[in-house]
């Protein structure tokens, strides 16, 4: 029950802030829409006609996941820096629920809100462009959740760095390119890719959305590997975050920016 109330409070807060920064929110949604349209268009005009459909789809799926990875992984660090600037980080840390739980519910809340927005926009874009991706929600959803879970582990690590160092904006910029790499390079490129966060998940989603596969086609093995990968990253992230939080408390860094 406490968890649910915590989640509802943070969902409510995310909603209120989106409403209060409405121009910002609208700009974001429009940007998305035009980027989607642009992607459909560019590939339509300049791509190789024989592989055109696959190209469009490949780029769009990657783009969505890149954005998702970006928001999930940066959000933790971003929220912590923001709270530190506002001076509310210490109040948050004094909740008996703990910072990571509070921020987790915030993350879930914003993932849900943005997930819905992206989903709706994608449908609208597909309608506008007349190009259709295979959106098999039943197959995508479990993979999506596991993938986000793994991303979240990485996000916790970034959050841990943020709580100690605060000035992590430059690092986040570099991270954007790394993440772009991770989402665009196919899993088959190297066996090493299996050890990286969320690459497996993105690859599986591509199989579904572009290759038209279902969960059954994919089979247990890749799913199990995905599960282990996500779980390991999540636990590692959580441990690292708690370690950093403790270090910040030892050095008196929580209230500082």
């Amino acid at each position: 029950m406490q968890w649910i109330n915590l989640f509802l409070a943070n969902l409510w807060k995310e909603y209120l802030e989106m409403k209060r920064y409405l121009p910002n929110t609208i700009a974001l949604v429009l940007t998305f829409y035009f980027i989607f349209l642009g992607l459909f268009g560019v590939i339509h005009f300049f791509g190789d006609p024989s592989t055109q459909d696959v190209n469009i789809q490949f780029v769009i799926v990657n783009y969505i996941f890149w954005f998702l990875a970006l928001s999930v992984i940066q959000m933790f660090g971003f929220e912590i820096v923001n709270e530190a600037i506002r001076g509310t980080l210490e109040q948050l840390s004094m909740s008996p629920m703990g910072i990571w739980r509070i921020l987790s519910t915030r993350l879930i809340a914003s993932t849900i809100i943005y997930g819905i927005i992206i989903f709706v926009l994608l449908i609208i874009t597909m309608l506008t462009a007349g190009q259709w991706l295979n959106i098999d929600i039943l197959s995508i959803f479990p993979i999506f959740v596991l993938t986000v879970f793994g991303m979240y582990g990485v996000g916790l690590m970034v959050g841990g760095l943020a709580i100690v160092y605060k000035q992590i904006q430059a690092f986040l910029q570099i991270l954007q390119f790394l993440l772009a790499g991770l989402t665009f390079i196919p899993l088959a490129a190297s066996p090493f890719m299996y050890f990286l966060p969320f690459v497996i998940g993105v690859d599986l989603v591509r199989d579904i959305m572009i290759g038209g596969q279902t969960l059954i086609d994919i089979g247990w093995l890749p799913l199990t590997i995905l599960f282990i990968n996500a779980f390991v990253y999540f636990i590692a992230g959580l441990l690292f975050f708690n370690y950093c939080e403790r270090m910040a408390m030892k050095k008196g860094l929580l209230g500082q920016y």
């Binding site: 029950m1 406490q2 968890w3 109330n5 915590l6 509802l8 409070a9 943070n10 409510w12 807060k13 209120l16 802030e17 209060r20 506002r86 001076g87 509310t88 210490e90 109040q91 948050l92 840390s93 004094m94 909740s95 008996p96 629920m97 703990g98 509070i102 403790r246 408390m249 030892k250 050095k251 008196g252 929580l254 209230g255």
Partner: protein, 324 residues
Amino acid sequence: MEKIIEISNLTKTYRKRKSREVIQAVNDVDFNVYKGEILGLLGPNGAGKTTTIKLICGLLYPDSSEIKIKGIPNTDSRLESLQYISAVLEGNRNLYWRLTVRENLEYFAGNRGRSRKEVKEEIDKLLQMFRLKDKENELVNRLSRGMQQKLAIAVAMLANTEVMLLDEPTLCLDVQTGLEVREILKSIVSNYQRTIIISSHDMDVIQDICDRTVIINQGTVVIDQRVDELIKLFEVRSYRLTLTEPLSLDQQKAISTRFPTNEYVEDQAYSYLTVQLEKSEDIYQIFQVLQLNRTPIDSIDRKAIRFDEVFLKIIQGDHQYAMD
């Protein structure tokens, strides 16, 4: 009396970022906090009040020892111990400026796992009590500093914890709002059975609302005593003699050697001698000096001492008698 917070041998050092120089912010501090009292943490700037408060709130880890909150060590079982604690920290950054008054209350309650429905009535009551009802839908960044401070205290109240810590709650408030906040704090203790720890360097606030005071200077506790007893202690020792003739230079010298802190002033009609006595018998020494010239005494008064004078004396090291 039930001990709610136990602090023993508490030490905290900071390290400066660049120079790695060590700052001893809190040094071997001991004190307890008892259920239902208002404890005043008093000390000059940089004494270690905020550090002590943050250590109690589990926002800082001590170098050594641990703080027990209702018997729970707040380092090993941090989240559990936080169930009993809420705080308004230094400054005005305890709230979300882009949320309204009511939304802030609801959000912070939500962060402690309480639903909006569950706290609705409590919020109404608090808004009434803090006279913020007409501002409930106002964004916090549009409130005055005093209203923000009241709201921050209301948020801490809504946490429904046994202990509430307030770091300099009346700083930057005008006289009227300051008094209002004091009244609210007093009523919280008497009507809600809360325990309050309040830090301040405003002696007046401490004298007005606190039962007991712990005075910290340079990271160590110099006094831990009931406020009324503390004042009495210093009062007893401060005497003012009104003389109808001035003292001779020899007399003045004799007084000064025995009572270095004496104050002597003359005006046309009277001379005034103020002395701090270490023991009440010391008054006879003064009589001896006066007897030399048979100086006539008009009156002897025990000088009423203000708490801020007590505080200054303690900070300047004149506390050897107050400690026992």
